[in-house]
């Protein structure tokens, strides 16, 4: 046996010869390989990747986005101009966290930046995750198309935190576009709708996340303009199990409406349930991240029927006409169930990526970004005719108002113009 004190320390002895041979071998192989290990990129292939939270609680919503992208690629029959197109579905969540993590999103962005075949990066789902990958992809001059980020600060100067959006653009150039309207539209229009519904006293809740808190803040600002009394504002802990005491305290303020800035995954369903449990009979309004069947499933239909108002950027799938309607039918035929709200943005993002690559006509990231930013009057997708503005935002301004009725979302009206 080894001397008493030896094994507890590092033994920087010679180590077995085999190991040294192995290390030397690796070095040698590496030198011999030379440039052969580098993949030059396949000149006939372009790759589109998506980075969305594919494990954990947002999975249902991202499934529908990925399905939407898949349909766009399948429609192109895997070809785009002269190139073959492949699509890879990457995950920016981990099972342990149950949601997106900064590490996974950063790793995805670096991976895409480095792969010479990747020409478009569709993502992210969470605005917080976009803050991670945007600077990396910006340096790599890789086109990033978000089907779901709605935090205004990602693109609009002066609408987010100080320094946004320049801090995400270290090269000073644009590479990020989004096909979904930002919350500086949805927040105020929701407040306006609430006012039309006769709401004069409102209590605001948010989930303390980039998206939820952001839209709640915009909602409050609009309430002040419209003369709606804001009775109070509170941030919930999305890991808490129940909010009965909170609802009791809200009940004492006697609101007409509770606005929850948050998502299904950050306990939107539980809020609806605990309102009922605490005996609150007022209305509930939630933003687009709750526009998914999972929200009604989580809340229990009986708790939200005819009292829960949901806003959504764009029209509900049932109301779509023309190409939008065709998309819904194709989706139904392909996946055996109707698409959820965000499917259409996934589809649109896929279409935009394909169009940008085709219009650029060459496998050059900078040219593809330029082609994408130049898109005007785009009508190949399902959202009708729209353009990208100077910030990379869509000109789509349709926000729809929906009410939960009989366990389904029922379209009520188009908000705003």
């Amino acid at each position: 046996m080894a001397p008493e004190n030896q094994p507890s320390r590092f033994t920087f002895g010679r180590g077995p010869l085999v190991a040294w041979v192995a290390v030397a071998g690796l070095v040698l192989v590496s030198i011999l390989l030379g440039g052969a290990g580098v993949r030059p990129g396949n000149p006939h292939l372009v790759k589109i990747v998506s980075s969305l939270p594919r494990t954990g609680s947002a999975k249902a919503q991202t499934d529908t986005i990925v399905n939407g992208i898949s349909i766009a690629i399948e429609e192109a029959k895997g070809k785009c101009g002269d190139f073959d197109v492949v699509f890879a579905d990457w995950d920016d969540a981990t099972a342990a966290a149950g949601q997106w993590t900064a590490e996974a999103e950063t790793a995805n962005a670096r991976r895409a930046a480095r792969d010479p075949d990747v020409m478009a990066y569709i993502g992210t789902y969470n605005s917080g995750a976009a803050k991670m990958s945007m600077p990396i992809l910006n340096r790599a001059e890789l086109l990033m198309i978000s089907p779901a980020n709605t935090w205004p600060g990602l693109t609009k100067p002066g609408k987010g935190d100080p320094g946004e959006p320049e801090i995400y653009r270290p090269t000073g150039k644009l590479n990020y576009v989004r096909v979904v309207p930002a919350d500086d539209l949805q927040g105020p229009l929701s407040a306006k709708w609430a006012h039309e519904l006769g709401v004069r006293r409102v209590f605001i809740l948010d989930d303390n996340q980039v998206y939820g808190k952001g839209i709640a803040t915009l909602f409050i600002a609009a309430c002040h303009d419209l003369g709606i009394t804001v009775l109070g504002q509170e941030s919930i802990d999305d890991k808490a199990q129940e909010f009965k005491a909170l609802m009791t305290s809200i009940k004492a303020t006697d609101p007409d409406l509770i606005y929850f800035g948050g998502t299904t995954q950050t306990k939107g369903g539980q809020i609806a349930k605990d309102m009922v449990a605490a005996g609150l009979t007022c209305k509930l309004m939630v933003p687009d991240a709750c526009y998914e069947d999972a929200f009604i499933e989580a809340a229990g239909a009986a708790n939200v029927n005819d009292r829960c108002y949901v806003t959504f950027g764009g029209l509900p799938t049932d109301e779509l006409r023309g190409p939008g309607h065709e998309f819904v039918e194709r989706y139904q035929a392909r996946f055996g169930r109707p698409p959820e709200g965000y499917a259409i943005y996934g589809y649109e993002a896929g279409k935009v990526a394909l169009a940008a690559i085709e219009r650029a006509g060459k496998k050059d990231r900078a040219a593809i970004i330029a082609a994408c930013l130049a898109i005007r009057d785009f009508d190949q997708g399902a959202l009708g005719r729209w353009s990208f503005d100077a910030n990379g935002d869509t000109t789509v301004k349709t926000i729809s108002g929906n009410l939960v009725h009989d366990g389904r979302f029922q379209f009520v009206k188009v908000l705003g113009d």
């Binding site: 129940e242 009965k244 349930k273 449990a277 005996g279």
Partner: protein, 319 residues
């Protein structure tokens, strides 16, 4: 008397009624924590192990209850039938959880009885992960809505300032008897005496002819059954189940057990009620966003002044 107090408060203006309501909510959810905390504290008292998997046994109990309700259509029964359904759940789920808890002990913890405490802790964490993964595969990653089997009308009348529903009553009606039975078992039965003896000194207990392994097994069975009962009433009261609920609730329940003095059975109940009350009052008066932090601040403060918890006796660590 309690009812007249409730009525008096509900008429006496909103501030008092509000306070009463917070206390009521706090005590109700607190008794849930207490029921779960008992499982932690009993196991700790006997084998000095923080049974991390306990919360996940509770979680799987909820999933079984959910599956039973969905498969047998228990939520479509008439009101009387629903009470029967709850009674059925309160038998089946605790049996399941007790079996599960016992098998975890036999398969995972028992071979490690002589291993260092930290190794046991890691295997408990491992067991917790395995159960959590089973929950994930069983129920999927999203929150599930547990159908309401009980009416949510206010029993004190629709306009009363204080709200007391059948669900609140059900929580009390189940937890109180369970705790009383447990107290009797621990205090007066042969098994209870054996458990207390084993907790005090396993070697001496063995020398006195106590079958220590059997006693440990019984502890796991009782703890599991209580987790099962807790999971049923939790599901009926909170209405949401997910594969992560065991972790979150287990954290609070374990905190409750430590707060009361770990290994101390009345302490666990007291700790659970205190945590429920703190949560509820903090949501009402301090702000929801600080609630969870406040629970732990109070825990640390109490432990600084009472290093063995509220009811724990100052025992010297075994040398």
């Amino acid at each position: 008397m309690a009812a007249s107090l409730l009525l008096a408060a509900s008429e006496s203006g909103s501030t008092g009624a509000l306070l009463l309501q917070y206390c009521l909510d706090g005590l109700t959810s607190g008794s849930l924590f207490a029921l779960l905390a008992l499982g932690y504290t009993m196991v700790y008292g006997i084998i000095e192990l923080i049974n991390f998997a306990h919360g996940d046994v509770f979680m799987l109990g909820s999933f079984l209850a959910y599956t039973l309700v969905a498969r047998l259509g228990l939520d479509r029964l008439d009101p009387a039938g629903r009470w029967g359904a709850i009674a059925l759940l309160l038998v089946v789920v605790p049996v399941f959880c007790a079996t599960l808890n016992l098998s975890i002990d036999r398969l995972v913890y028992k071979p490690l009885r002589k291993a260092p405490k930290l190794a046991q802790l890691v295997s408990a964490i491992g067991a917790s992960f395995v159960l959590m993964n089973i929950g994930l595969l069983w129920g999927g990653p999203a929150d599930r809505n547990f159908p309401a089997l009980l009416p949510q009308q206010n029993l004190l009348g629709p306009d009363a300032a204080v709200r007391l529903t059948t669900q609140d009553l059900m929580v009390i009606l189940v937890t109180l008897p369970v705790m009383i039975v447990l107290a009797i078992v621990v205090k007066y039965t042969q098994l209870g005496r054996a458990m207390r003896a084993t907790a005090q000194d396993p070697t001496a207990a063995r020398l006195m002819g106590i079958h220590v392994d059997r006693v440990i097994g019984a502890t796991f069975v009782i703890g599991g059954a209580m987790a099962g009962a807790a999971s049923v009433i939790y599901s009926l009261y909170i209405h949401t189940i997910s594969f992560q609920m065991g972790f979150q609730n287990g954290l609070y329940a374990f905190t409750a057990a430590v707060l009361g003095g770990i290994g101390n059975i009345p302490g666990a109940v007291l700790g659970g009620l205190v945590i429920g009350l703190v949560r509820s009052l903090s949501s009402g008066y301090v702000g929801e966003r600080w609630t969870s932090a406040l629970v732990f601040v109070i825990l640390i403060a109490i432990l600084v002044f009472r290093p063995s918890g509220l009811l724990g006796s100052r025992t010297r660590e075994k040398v």
